[in-house]
């Protein structure tokens, strides 16, 4: 949505995401703020945000599978897990550096997602959700059953810190910048995907697969592409998570985590990568602040109060998600856009016919 009075001379200008001077300035300021943040915020906040970046990459991937291609995936955390284990294993067993483990993790997650995406060639809609639940259930069993020399079996794997030019990233703010770089990169990739032929093909397959196939879209291929790319993002997130947490076990990658990923997408809006980013920030912020609030309340009313207050925060978040589905079905982001639209036609209530 643009302010009125803005016209384009060419298609490049129109396709660009940042169309006006102020928009460009806003982005520049935003990135600058992100860069300066570790200097201003406490270590705790920086730690939380670092992990949020990782989550964000996974949710950006989910936005491609679920948002663009319309294939419900409630097993994203399994693919994050696969990425984490592959990267951890290559790093700890073969001593690969991160710039090799990361692509390997991405590829491994992507390829294994194809296994679960294959049924998509025939199955549609929510039925597909089930094969992704299957991924979630098979994943820990698979890791446990594979020779423990590969992925450490059920014991999991320790991950040495990332090292860049021989310098190990140990400090919180180093990890922060490391992950910030990746989140910026992957956000850019996701935005790019949406505005090009491939993104349109994904949406076409979601909106009307028969029409898409008759109009030249190889639907089987694009369904798999949606799964693949979504999982590649997950794989990268997994590898990064391993480096941040420095230990991976199957305990990390539960259905519950997948559910939160989906929730973030709902809250932000599934229509665009911006929604994924926004949703991740909102849910993380809410989780953290509700939790802090809960802790404060617990401090005041005694720690046993915690047994009540913490589940209460979950309920509050769940209710919030449902409220968003009901009142802002396309996510908070569209709410913002509607507001802008209303502002633009103010003082009139409606557009003309």
């Amino acid at each position: 949505m643009l302010p009125s009075g803005v016209f384009f001379r060419d298609f490049a200008a129109e396709a660009a995401y940042l169309r006006t001077g102020p928009q460009r300035l806003a982005l520049a300021l935003f990135v600058l703020a992100l860069v300066l943040l570790p200097a201003l915020a406490g270590a705790y906040l920086v730690g939380v945000i670092t992990l949020m970046f990782v989550t964000m990459i996974a949710v950006l991937g989910l936005q491609i599978t679920v948002g663009m291609a319309g294939m419900i995936n409630i097993g994203q955390s399994a693919f994050v897990g696969i990425g984490a284990f592959v990267s951890a294993s290559l790093a700890s067993k073969l001593g690969w550096p991160f710039w090799l483990t990361l692509p390997a993790a991405a590829l491994a997650a992507g390829v294994s997602s194809l296994l679960f995406g294959l049924p998509a060639l025939r199955i549609k809609g929510f039925y597909l959700a089930l094969t992704t639940v299957a991924a979630q259930i098979v994943f820990p069993i698979g890791i446990a059953r594979l020779p423990s020399a590969w992925f450490g079996g059920s014991s999991g794997l320790a991950v040495e810190p990332v090292s860049i030019f021989g310098h190990a990233l140990l400090k919180q703010h180093e990890l922060y910048y490391f992950n910030l770089a990746f989140v910026l990169l992957f956000a850019l990739l996701a935005f790019n995907l949406k505005r090009t032929r491939v993104g349109r093909a994904l949406i076409a397959v979601r909106d009307n697969d028969i029409a898409a196939s008759v109009l030249g879209v190889n639907i089987g291929y694009y369904k798999l592409v949606a799964f693949f790319v979504g999982a590649v993002f997950a794989g990268v997130a997994g590898a990064l998570l391993g480096y941040v947490v420095s230990y991976v076990t199957t305990d990390h990658f539960t259905l519950w985590l997948s559910i939160w990923y989906i929730s973030m997408l709902i809250v932000g809006g599934m229509g665009s990568p911006l929604g994924a980013i926004f949703g991740t920030v909102v849910i993380t912020a809410l989780q953290e602040s509700l939790h802090a609030l809960g802790n404060a309340a617990a401090a005041r009313f005694g720690s046993d109060f915690g047994a009540f207050i913490f589940p209460a925060t979950n309920s509050v978040l769940g209710v919030l998600i449902i409220a968003i589905l009901v009142f802002q079905p396309h996510g908070l982001l569209t709410g913002w856009n509607t507001l802008k639209a209303a502002y633009r036609i103010w003082p009139y209530r409606h557009h003309g016919g």
């Binding site: 209530r349 409606h350 557009h351 016919g353």
Partner: protein, 279 residues
Amino acid sequence: MTATDVVATPATGAPLLQLKNVEVAFNGVIQVLHSVNMEVPRGKIVVFLGGNGAGKTTTLKAISSLLAIDDGAVTGGGILFDGQEIANRDPAQTVRAGIVQVLEGRKVFGHLTVEQNLRLGLHLCSDRAIAERERERCLELFPALRGLLERQAGYLSGGEMQMLLVSRALLLQPRLLLLDEPSMGLAPLLVRQIFGALARINRERGLAMLLVEQNARAALEIADHAYIIENGRIVMHGAAADMRNNEDIREFYLGLSVGREKKSFRDVKHYKRRKRWLG
């Protein structure tokens, strides 16, 4: 209020349905209808013409309270049925009051059989005898359905679906039938059959109808009144017979040029268009 109450208090004289300055908006911001005024007299057929996107379907849905599901609402004016305000009500209530809409686009219950579809039409009727009688009447009207009763409705042909839809709507015993492009995609023979049936129903039962149609010629033939809507505004209305002779209507809705002879589609020219794409 029940259906019988409504029948018991007919405000004779007043038209059955009255739209007064109706405005409709979607999502709270996109206004589609602008001050639409319209009347459907008792026992008459009113045809509603207009180009694509003019707002015909929207008007019908406003009357039958089906806008809400698309995030639309009547934002101004009033819709009176039998003197009662009915805008933005619960659709189920509207049907009970006697307004039934046949939606555009062959909305049969595809996984149910024809028989089950018909029985759903009778879901408001608690008297078995009446139900049986009504069902017979419908099968008489569309004898073709009789042989299809056990077929799954999703696999009927277009014409059969349309017959099923009209029958199903009639079984709900409406006092006002709203039809959204019933002839769309039907073969000429079937168009005639459907319109014949509509005319017959109107004659025999005195059922009032509001008919949205693109096949203006066939529609004007059986209609008593006509309204024309453009861009969400009623631009013309009058008796069907007058409309048939109106110059503009003849040109834009009947495809006839001055002097009654038919214009060939081969000869239509539009000069305003720059055809860069063809170059």
